[in-house]
Amino acid sequence: MGHPLYLQPRQESQLAALTEANGFLHMLADGLGTPLNVLLPEQIAENLDRFRAAYQKHHLGGEIFFAHKASRSSALVRQLAATGGCIDVASVEELQHALSCGFAPARISTTGPKDPAFLWLGARAGVTFHVDGRAELEALAALVRTYDLPRVRVLLRLSGFSSTGVRTLLRRSRFGTSFVSVGVLLDTVECVADVVELIGVGYHLDTVSVAEKAVALEGCINVMDECRSRGMRPQVIDIGGGFGVSYLAEAEQWDTYVTELTSAVLGARSPLTWRGHGYGLRSESGKAAGSLGLYPAYRKVAGAEYLDELLGTPAPSLGRPLATLLLENLYDLYTEPGRALADQCGLTLAKVLEVRRAADGDEWFVRLDMNAADCSLEDHGVLMDPLILPSGDQCSSLSEDSSAEPVGVYLFGNLCLESDLITKRLVFLPRLPAPGDLVCFVNTAGYCMDFSAHQAQQRPEARKVAVWQDRDGSWRWSLDERYWPITSSGILWEGAAV
């Protein structure tokens, strides 16, 4: 099989403690079936604190909005409501969910395309709107006037920023108003000022590049200045999400894997993927062409640290660090992290149904009790090894089992579809799993748990449970929809015991 190429997941303390709790996870999986999504609501509060610390380090005021689209979990959203965080919603359903989880409208913002119902409920409740352009602003103003709603707070979403000197080409966005035509948009803001209050401007850029974001942030500072010169007093710059997560424990495993994958695509080593899939790379007359369509799974700087780095970056033309510019211009900073706040907040379990050897090779096929949409790590380009949790009867013997040898396996789903591959790549495991074992995909809470889940072939969608540890360290659980932040403090349990 050759040398195993592991991609071991990064696990912080809560997640690591949970994946150690083999018996507890098997009990949940036996009782509730798999696929099963397990959430750690307390982790999201910890992640939020790290973002807050980055704000404090730079003396910045402002709010952190969790991008709801990253997770549908009620437990996460309710826990966040308990911490004083804010939330960003992108549909009327997400808005209803946020309101029902305890977010006051002042702590909710809305982004993305909006239909009239979404506009009405948001305006009625009094949430903040990110408006994409003039048409949306006018529609919102008309609605507020027609239904005699309270004045709404808006942020203008901008895009198409440009820089001078060295031109930084920015990835094009479908959303937002181009930086160059912002004047016209501001004219509209002035016309609807009776029903709309401009609180600031913002962007969301889908890029890992700090340099691009620095150009955009400086662009926003310039637009804010134009607003001030028109006599408006906006206070907020919203820099969207995209702070990233580091999924892997070790840089070296990631570096080696990518090197080997490139060689495999060029035919210089045994294949690492199903039918020569190249994750975007291909061989063109012996050269690697295309580009690797994968999430950079190991990131030296991600999440709150990435925010810190961005804030410390000098503005491309004004020269001062971006945080200093925000601060000395008296602006508040809004951020909308999705993936980064959901980091380490959950895992996905699936039972092993069948293990068999490939007819024509030394790889193995492992069929799981889930389908590809139940755990969309690969759809999101995240390559990360699952853990194997042995079933109870072999549990004790396994860890010491020295005869266990590394194997390469392909993980398949339970749909009757050729394409139902959980992994398009050969996954190396320290030993061969057996039917009844649990395969555990960790760190799936952000986008990889329920973003794409659907009821294919009438298979039920995965259940969700929230889990936490008691003071004495024993694990507790509740169905996700029945979890409230007071649940974990034990009040409900004690009440029930009386």
Binding site: R171, T207, V208, G242, A288, G293, L318, L325, E328, L330
Partner: protein
């Protein structure tokens, strides 16, 4: 020597023997091919000139713009060649991470475009990888580019097969060295030189050097990135080794401080990689042997790169009246004043109000009557002594009162009798509802 065009001065660079006392090899003569002495400053002068020469006349007639994916030396050489022939030059890159190089290119008249980074959320339908974008730009209607295509252009390697390689053989008295060591960017220099050396001595061992993955050495690629290079042929190299930026800087320092060669980081990488490879071999040798490595370019453009990795090389500055020299007691003893008291004090005593924020922020909103001296400038000013009369009280203001209290301490140390720092800064001033004006 007399020349009619600066391009005539390209090539014929010295082959310098490194003193054995510096490199410590007993049986191997180690030579540096000093490509940094080319007129535009690097090994890439040869490739740039060879790639453009046949097309320049036509390009000048049509008014084409030269375009290349380059992060440094090729761009520099092309910018100068373009200027010589009245053409424009545009460099497109996502690798230009050394600020001085960017600034130098702008100074030379180049246009620089930086390609966007990787997406944060994977979009499987996205066909917009940076190279695809670049090629689309080349074929946009109405555009007229002379694309030199250094990663695929055989004329890049040929420049070295007809220049660098034969020069080395000539300077070694008609013999090829036993080892040849070079860094790999486009692979043009290493593969072109190797071709010539092999013709003279089929046993010559070529050592290719790349940057350690997850590290960065400006001008060269890592082991994955060379797989995308058209001119790269793995069979040219006996081995391909990785060098870290730290090792490259160590090698560079040896060349600079002990051999009088103003080498940049990749020359240092080649020297370091050469010694690492040759030392064990040297210990086994009984006969004299020869090795050659390339010093690609000069040190001056990499100061910030080096400073970032080895700040200690630049020494600490001993300064007197700076914020950094303040003790906690001095800062604690500085006078602060809250917003309400400050407003009364301003009305009664008319202190000089100094706003330490940037001119941009000051212009937008400030306390009426204040003067703006941005903190960086203020730091310079006080270094020389007290910049204000002791007779007039001073109120210092910054965004949150953190910097101003330190400068208040510095002014106090300089003997000013009444400096106060606005507690909570301009943010607190605004939050208290006090007036800010835009003039």
């Amino acid at each position: 020597m007399r020349y009619d065009s600066i391009t005539d001065a390209i090539g014929n660079t010295p082959l310098l023997r490194i003193a054995p006392a510096v490199h410590g090899l007993r049986n191997i003569d180690l030579y540096a091919k000093l490509e940094l002495l080319n007129p535009f400053g690097s090994v890439k002068d040869r490739a740039a000139w060879n790639m453009t020469r046949p097309d320049l006349a036509e390009a000048a007639e049509r008014g084409s713009q030269i375009v290349e994916l380059s992060s440094g030396n090729t761009a520099k050489a092309l910018a100068l060649i373009a200027g010589l022939h009245g053409l424009g030059f545009k460099s497109v890159t996502n690798r230009m991470r050394v600020p001085e190089i960017k600034e130098l290119l702008l100074l030379l008249g180049a246009q620089i475009e930086e390609l966007p980074g990787q997406t944060e959320c994977l979009d499987p339908t996205n066909a917009d990888d940076p190279l695809t974008q670049f090629h689309r730009m080349l074929s946009e209607p109405g555009s007229d580019y002379l694309h030199t295509d250094q990663y695929y252009n055989e004329r890049n390697a040929d420049a070295h097969a007809t220049g660098t390689g034969p020069e080395i053989v000539r300077d070694l008295g008609g013999r090829a060295p036993d080892w040849f060591i070079a860094c790999i960017g486009t692979a043009g220099s290493s593969s072109g030189v190797a071709r010539v050396l092999r013709a003279h001595n089929p046993d010559v061992e070529v050592v290719g050097l790349v940057a350690q993955k997850s590290d960065f050495i400006p001008g060269i690629r890592n082991i994955d990135e060379i797989q995308e290079v058209g001119l790269f042929d793995p069979l040219v190299y006996r081995t391909i080794d990785a060098v870290t930026s730290d090792e490259a800087i160590d090698g560079m320092l040896a060349l600079v401080r002990r051999s009088g060669v103003l080498s940049g980081p990749t020359g240092g990488a080649a020297y370091f990689g050469a010694l690492r490879y040759l030392r064990p071999v040297d210990a086994q040798l009984t006969q004299r042997r020869t090795a050659v490595f390339i010093v690609c370019d000069r040190i001056e453009s990499y100061l910030s790169y080096i400073r970032k990795r080895r700040p200690e090389l630049f020494g600490g500055k001993a300064e007197r009246n700076t914020v950094a020299t303040l003790s906690d007691e001095e800062v604690g003893a500085a006078t602060t004043i809250d917003i309400e008291t400050a407003q009364q004090w301003i009305a009664q005593e008319n202190p000089l109000i100094v706003d330490l924020r940037s001119p941009f922020a000051y212009a937008a909103l400030h306390i009426e009557g204040s003067v703006n001296i941005v903190d960086e400038l203020f730091e310079e000013l006080v270094r020389g002594g007290l910049p204000f009369s002791k007779r007039r009280p001073v109120l210092l203001a910054c965004p949150v009162g953190e910097k101003s209290v330190k400068y208040a301490a510095v002014l106090t140390r300089l003997g000013h009798p009444d400096v106060r720092s606005l507690s909570g800064g301009i943010v607190a001033w605004r939050d208290a509802g006090a007036e800010l004006v835009r003039e």
